[in-house]
Symmetry: C2
Subunit: 158 residues, 2 copies
């Protein structure tokens, strides 16, 4: 398959991984959710090299996850803002937080729900009955297309 083919897979998980399955992209997103907008701040807080940061920001803009906005004309200055598509990746970062805090220890980040004021650790729930969900509680049914893709690969062809 090769990594660059992930985007064309019949699996929505693969397609998503192609866009955001990169440590620096995830670090950039974490920062964006904390309010970071400027190149040099991403640089300092993520620890990525300037070359890579430049590449990744371009890629994230191309993918519609961030947008580059000129916030000063003279001299030209730019900032990077989350789009709706980008903001919808917040559960990814939350899930990383939850897992990191549960299984990796170390210092923590506390979350408060503005709506009800409770201090929370948000998890996945069934939108229908409200029950908390784990891997065992859900059955996944993949598309016919994806089923075919898997069989083709199992055969060893491609």
């Amino acid at each position: 398959m090769g990594r660059s083919d992930l985007a064309n897979s019949s699996c929505p998980v693969s397609r998503a991984i192609e866009r955001v399955g990169d440590p620096w992209v995830l670090m950039i997103l974490r920062e964006a959710f904390v309010g970071t907008r400027r190149f040099d701040d991403f640089l300092a807080q993520t620890g990525v090299s300037p070359h890579l940061l430049s590449q990744r920001l371009k890629q994230l803009c191309d993918d519609g996850i961030l947008r580059r906005r000129r916030y000063c004309d003279h001299p030209p200055r730019f900032e990077y803002l989350l789009t709706d598509k980008g903001r919808d990746l917040w559960p990814m970062i939350m899930t990383l937080r939850n897992w990191g805090q549960t299984w990796l220890g170390g210092s923590s980040v506390r979350l408060t729900h503005k709506g009800c004021g409770a201090r929370i650790d948000p998890g996945l729930t069934c939108p229908d009955c409200g029950a908390a969900l784990t891997a065992r509680d859900v059955v996944a049914e993949i598309s016919e297309e994806f089923e075919q893709e898997r069989k083709r690969r199992k055969g060893g062809t491609q």
Copy 2:
């Protein structure tokens, strides 16, 4: 900072990214949740090269996310199983699915909640009041330690 320092950060998100913020690790996890256990099946279904697969599986075992179990003595044969720590990464894969399906289009994966039988798209909710959550609904308060780490970096030192 450099990528290898992520593990020691005061941020639980960074620490998690160090372990699972890699496209092949995520693909391996996706497969594991679908029931894949054997080397050659991971190989075929993820498209990773055998060398990298070997490395990543080792790393995932070291991190306690998978465990390597001998399922045949003669000849020696091994399989890779999710641990509790690994199974707890299921929300990551779900979140990737949700986002990929919403924003990237293409074929989909349907989920059914065993408990209530409903076809669902699970999202994050407040465990206290049950409301669905987005980035705007939650305030994050970072640890004093992490605050310090950020200030140090902002200064340009390190």
